[in-house]
């Protein structure tokens, strides 16, 4: 088990408390098979592809174009389990010989927790199908036919 690569810039990731009132699409990073990664607001997603608002332009990506598509739904605080694990491991110094058992337990449980927390908010194509990304788009129901960026 390892941490999933997350290319979404940290400043573009919402705090969990912001998500319920955020009415735009979440920030998405599309890494095409050719060319540089592009990023912007996820406007629409379906099995046929994703539409991303990049600046004032809507850009459509079909599945064959996408090597990887990533959305991070909310910001995690991995520092919490990291600090917790370090403090817990250090506390085993008070366990005497028991630390031969308790310190590895802290490390195993702590590191597993850090990885799970890191990975939880990340949704990534091709591990997740593109239609699942509709939940995080501005228009989960599909983009209105007459929609043009302002």
């Amino acid at each position: 088990m390892a941490c999933t690569h997350n290319p979404v810039p940290d400043e573009r990731i919402l705090d969990a408390e912001q998500v319920p009132t955020w009415t735009r699409g979440l920030w998405v990073v599309v890494e095409p098979f050719s060319g540089n990664p592009v990023e912007g607001e996820l406007v629409e997603a379906s099995g046929q592809g994703v539409t991303v608002l990049i600046g004032q332009s809507l850009v459509r990506f079909r599945p064959p174009d996408c090597q990887r598509v990533t959305v991070a739904v909310f910001r995690t605080r991995e520092s919490v389990p990291v600090i917790w694990t370090i403090a817990g491991t250090l506390s085993t110094l008070s366990h005497g010989g028991f630390l031969l058992i308790s310190a590895p337990v802290w490390q195993i449980v702590g590191n597993t927790t850090v990885v799970l927390m890191h990975n939880r908010p990340i949704h990534q194509y091709p591990d997740d199908p593109l239609q699942d990304f509709a939940r995080f788009a501005r228009f989960p129901q599909g983009m209105p036919a007459d929609f043009t960026p302002p």
Binding site: S91, G96, P140
Partner: protein, 492 residues
């Protein structure tokens, strides 16, 4: 405080579950979501709080705002939205992250362990020089020699062996400094089908070809025959009001020809270790001065320590002779680690009558394994072998600039290990390990919290009363003390 801070951090570690629901399923919308988004067919969205679903009228109602497809606010206020105009509903439930639950569980267990070790330091970290044969703990050396002036020789039975090369591993598994002046192996030829036994408190080894277990055993708990021998250890809990309280075990053996001896395989519980460490804790910073005084011949520690030792006592062996109990001797070995077998010679008894033996011992102080009646066939002179010393390792934490040693006296620190390689002629032997030296207990910082000149004075001036006073504290942790002790050996 650290843990309180972490608990606070948990509350800050949230995650979000986002769900989309078709209008036809509006009745099943997740009510835990504080806000409801109604995505309209034209791309606009209602963001509603205090929202409700009116299924019969096919409406959702709430307070909030309407945003157009560009997410500009076009209206605010209470709204009623027809389900038929809605494309999708979106709910977002913010919850505390469940990923942290395992860490919380480990934290609870870890705090419990810390509290246990800080409040029961007398059951953590303790040991004394330990000797292994074939990876199995067989002996602990000179456990009572806690100062240079108490240097002593200890002989421990370590079992049968076919001779040849015998490698005994000596380790330091405690926060102690061990000074080992010498170690020798005593190899006594074993009679066919018999044993060689070391007489308690004496240098004599005895050959025996007839060893018989008891036919009856009676103690306070009733029949105790099934609770000792064949790997089982008979043990009774300490008295809740007086740690020096005694108990009796009555054993009956079938008639057996003499001369006779009683072989008792035993080790101590954690009680003696607890009392030793408690004494050091109460002396606190004054412990060094008092032990130095002991080295100068002072009696202010030696006297009370001897009194305490006598109050706890060994395993007294009595035999019934002419209708009366007569004291035959005592089996005594300090230390909770390794089982040792002691022979107590019995006075002449009629060979055609059952033999009744009474053991008198302090409750909760002894674990008794095999007890056998032995016919003694004569004394035996052992072969004495001295070892080649092979350093195995120096403890990493306390290794420092020290170099491994290859000659006695060996001074060892926690984590050190040496192999003692003996060579014996091939044969069938009963082996005994003779070790001489002393060790210095390291005063633990956490013990200083219990420093109490008044209680130390009580221990020295009225040890009998101190044993009564300490009984409740010992009883509170007696059950888990031994398991904790074994798990807490110093190891690298």
């Amino acid at each position: 405080m650290r843990w309180v801070t972490l608990v606070g951090l948990v509350a800050c570690t949230a995650h979000v579950d986002r769900s989309l629901t078709l209008p036809i399923n509006a009745a099943g919308l997740d009510k835990r979501s504080a806000f409801l988004k109604a995505h309209m067919k034209d791309g606009s969205v209602y963001l509603l709080r205090r929202w409700t679903v009116n299924s019969p009228q096919r409406l959702v109602a709430g307070i909030g705002e309407l945003q157009d497809a560009h997410r500009r606010v076009v209206a605010k206020g209470p709204f009623e939205v027809r389900l038929d105009d809605v494309a999708l509903f979106e709910t977002n439930v913010v919850e505390t992250s469940a990923e942290l639950a395992p860490l919380a569980v480990v934290t609870g267990a870890s705090i419990a362990m810390t509290v246990f070790c800080l409040t029961n330091t007398k059951s953590c970290f303790g040991s004394c020089p330990t000797f292994y044969l074939g990876g199995e703990l067989r002996a602990e050396g000179f456990s009572e020699s806690v100062a240079p002036s108490l240097e002593a020789t200890d002989v421990d039975a370590i079992g049968p062996h076919p001779g040849g090369t015998v490698i005994v591993r000596m380790t330091n598994e405690a926060y102690e400094t061990h000074v080992v002046k010498r170690v020798a192996l005593l190899a006594a030829p074993r009679p066919a089908g018999g044993r060689v036994l070391a007489e308690s408190g004496e240098d004599h080894l005895w050959r025996s070809t007839r060893l018989a277990p008891p036919v009856a055993c009676r103690a306070a708990e009733g029949d105790c025959l099934a609770s000792m021998g064949d790997g089982r250890e008979r043990f009774s809990p300490a008295d809740g009001e007086d740690l020096a309280a005694r108990e009796e075990i009555h054993l009956t053996f079938a008639p057996q020809a003499g001369p006779l001896g009683l072989a008792v395989s035993t080790r101590q519980t954690m009680l003696s270790t607890y009392l030793f460490y408690q004494g050091l804790a109460w002396m606190g910073r004054d412990a060094g001065r008092r032990l130095a005084d002991l080295e100068r011949g002072g009696r202010d520690v030696a006297g009370p320590a001897s009194t305490l030792r006598d109050l706890l006592g060994g395993i007294e062996v009595h035999v019934r002779r002419n209708g009366e109990w007569a004291r035959a001797g005592e089996a005594r070995e300090t230390g909770p680690l390794a089982v040792d077998t002691h022979l107590v010679r019995l006075p002449a008894l009629p060979s055609n009558e059952p033999i009744e033996v009474r053991l008198r011992l302090t409750k909760g102080l002894w674990r008794i394994g095999d007890v056998t009646l032995a016919t003694l066939d004569g004394a035996v002179e052992p072969i004495r072998a001295v070892p080649r010393i092979v350093p195995v390792r120096l403890g990493r934490r306390f290794g420092g600039e020290r170099a491994p040693q290859t000659a006695f006296p060996l001074t060892t620190l926690p984590g050190d290990a040496y192999d003692l390689e003996f060579r014996l002629p091939d044969g069938d032997y009963e082996l005994f390990l003779e070790s001489r030296g002393y060790y210095l207990e390291w005063l633990r910082e956490e013990w200083l919290a219990e420093e109490s000149p008044a209680k130390a004075a009580l221990l020295f001036l009225a040890p009998r009363l101190a044993l009564r006073m300490l009984a409740p504290a010992f009883k509170a942790h007696e059950a888990e003390m031994e398991a904790a002790f074994w798990r807490s050996r110093y190891a690298e």
